[in-house]
Symmetry: C2
């Protein structure tokens, strides 16, 4: 009955995502989006509501994609859980040291959000928790198989890896090279090799 759309929402969101990844939310103009998506302003507005809403859609797609990717990287059975994490981190090091100007929408949202109640904030927090969940699952397996200490705190380690990858992303953007970023990734893995989980008495030795 109604006139059919000429576009698929997913295509539009994906084009918009690209624009946002390069420019960010504030710096991307509606015109950029119109050009990138091929839609008219009004069509964009009808379908999504505005720049911010479109960003949220893109963010949510980005989150799904990121989770999916990490989930796949960590979920395969081709190697030990620990090796999978290792491989994943090394791949991140390569990705983050690429020279394109993209910044993950999650990071953008984090930085551009205006407050804790900003939908950008809540969406991002959810995304981070989701991501941490994926790491946690893999770490759980690792513990099961004895790759890491039984008493390792899987939850905080999972968040730790989210933090590390976020940090690597930022550093890559700062121009830190692939070699260094790879070294950082390998360094970060060492927390898993430590003999035992954190406990009150296990302080580092006091100097003389």
């Amino acid at each position: 009955m109604p006139r059919p759309r000429k576009f698929r929402e997913s295509d539009v969101v994906s084009s918009a995502s690209e624009v946002f990844a390069v420019h960010g939310l504030a710096a991307a103009t509606l015109d950029d989006l119109v050009r990138a998506t091929g839609l008219g302003k009004q069509s964009l507005y009808n379908a999504f509501g505005g720049k911010r809403e479109l960003f949220l859609r893109a963010l949510s797609e980005d989150r799904e994609e990121a989770t999916r990717a990490v989930s796949e990287a960590l979920g395969h059975d081709d190697a030990s859980p620990l090796e999978r994490i290792r491989g994943h981190l090394l791949r991140m090091a390569i990705e983050f040291s690429s020279s394109d100007r993209r910044v993950s929408l999650t990071t953008r949202a984090l930085v551009e959000s205006t407050g804790a109640e900003d939908p950008l904030s809540t969406a991002t927090k959810a995304g981070i928790e989701q991501l941490a969940g994926v790491y946690a699952q893999c770490l759980d397996h690792a513990r099961e198989y004895g790759d890491i200490p039984q008493d390792a705190n899987v939850q905080s380690l999972a968040v730790y890896f989210v933090a590390v990858t976020r940090g690597m992303e930022l550093l890559g953007r700062a121009g830190v090279g692939r070699g260094v970023l790879t070294a950082v990734a390998l360094d970060s893995l060492r927390v898993l090799q430590a003999q035992r989980a954190e406990e009150p008495g296990a302080r580092p030795p006091v100097r003389e």
Copy 2:
């Protein structure tokens, strides 16, 4: 001979810094800056050149301040180098889980820079290297005193800690709580407890 200024540049830069830390470069309006600094638009323009230039000044001040702070935290002689790093990271965990909307100008510059030749990028890269240098110095001491393995790669570990703190900053902004952030900080320290530095043969055990 000439009419004297009514303001001290450092005061202005510091007020501007605040604005940028809360809003970012793109989202901060000249009006925000005028209001925050108390200067007229033209005075601002005369003294600094424009929004971007003012941001660069603020960024550079921010960098100095950050370096100074970390340097002091890691340079005291009140505890072993390792303990100082520990204390510093724990303090960061607290700072980053505070609820204010500030984001370090370095992070902002990283995200808002438009390209590798953007002054924002170069300034930021320099800042990161400077910061890494401070960590490296402390790690060197730690190695000297036997707190960490002799063959530890101090350079990459230094960058690693920059990455971790950057990641913690982002996570804090995402609303990750103080407890979790503290746990992450403690986790991150474990790379230093590892028995030996990365070497080709030291792979994690392959699962069955």
